[in-house]
Symmetry: C2
Subunit: 236 residues, 2 copies
């Protein structure tokens, strides 16, 4: 599938449709023509390979020739829980989480959060998610959801393997233990970390209480690092 241009679209039987911004990209940026080969994904985990049969004002129609389950889909169930921080940082985290095979991303406000989350902004993050999905050739879509601190605790608490990046209060962690992990939750605070009260509630869930070294890492660095390690070592 290397080299074939990828688009987010709708699949209807043996036909795929590319619309909206994806159509603009197909027509005006990549200047593809009828007959060109493309790959369309709709988030169901399959690559739909086909040929453009028609380019119209509002859509490009693709005749699907073959479909197959993508090998790039994450194998494990990794959820990343991230406290609200600056928009640019959240954008980087969304992009990298897709690349690193996160299935579900949850954002929540914590006491030290410098930013309010609002559901209107989700579409901005989803746009970044779609773009990263194409870039790393995933055929499934990472979900992005805003939850409360309390909801976060309930969701994170249910994960089998709970990784909590607790800055200098964390401990050395044997990352090799992640080799057999399948259901992983990763919890990262914003700059400033969590309040004592919040920390007490998190530690009650008995997570792995992890230090990422002596130096202070920015929130997005900690997120990329812990997610990447969990993903690679668990064979995601």
């Amino acid at each position: 599938m290397f080299g074939v241009k990828r688009f987010i679209g709708k699949i209807e039987g043996t036909v795929a449709f590319v619309e909206g911004e994806e159509l603009v990209h197909l027509k005006s940026v990549l200047r593809l023509k009828e007959g060109d080969e493309v790959c369309v994904v709709n988030g169901d985990g399959k690559d739909y390979l086909g040929k453009i049969s028609k380019i119209d004002k509002n859509y490009a129609k693709v005749d699907v020739i073959s479909s197959k389950i993508s090998e790039i889909c994450p194998k494990n169930d990794i959820s990343l829980f991230i406290a609200a921080t600056k928009r640019e940082k959240l954008e980087i985290i969304v992009q990298k989480a897709v690349e690193l095979g996160v299935k579900k991303l949850f954002m929540f406000e914590s006491e030290f959060s410098t930013m309010k989350l609002s559901s209107e902004k989700i579409s901005r993050y989803e746009k970044i998610m779609f773009s990263a999905t194409k870039q790393c050739e995933r055929a499934d879509f990472m979900s992005i959801e805003i939850v409360s601190f309390k909801q976060m605790l309930a969701l994170f608490g249910k994960k089998q393997t709970k990784l909590f990046a607790n800055e200098r209060e964390g401990e050395d962690f044997n990352f090799a233990s992640l080799k057999t992990a399948k259901d992983i939750g990763i919890l990262i605070g914003c700059e400033g970390g969590f309040s004592q009260n919040e920390k007490a509630q998190i530690l009650q869930l008995k997570p792995e209480n992890i230090s990422l070294g002596q130096r202070i890492l920015r929130a997005e660095t900690a997120a990329i690092l812990l997610t990447g390690m969990a993903s690679i070592i668990s064979g995601n």
Copy 2:
């Protein structure tokens, strides 16, 4: 040392001087006054703690009260070799490399590099390095140098532990083996990777030939991930 504002400066005996942009930051942004406590670093690995004794037009003078070797200094000798890629990506890599405890960063042009490196731009990268140094409280400066591909091969070849991120051609790597590593080189290509000819030369050095998973990682993601893993697991 937490909470005390940090500045890059010159140390002369028991006196420190803060000048230039650092002075602007001290005076106009943080609005510090004579008598305020600050920490000055000059890159020698020590934190110089003192009190501002004079704020002049061209400098702030700090009477050094105590100095101590920083515990945040990297313990191991990690060099990161990075093929020239887009400026924004290189800037992220510089910032993260400082946070993750890299001692020396080398940039080089490879066949698929989309950007030319020029020594004039080093000062831009150094500015980012200084800012990251303060943010993560390092007291030593990461060096940044532009080298040729040939020079890179010689330098990388000399490292005891050589980690080569070889995308989908790499193999599973037992990261636990980094536990005792002290002298580590990390080599990351740009988007598009290395040419077959370049790869052959790199593989002759017998590096660890590492895959970072099935999904295509952007150059900066691969750099952060491999550097972070090497740093954390080696106890840097």
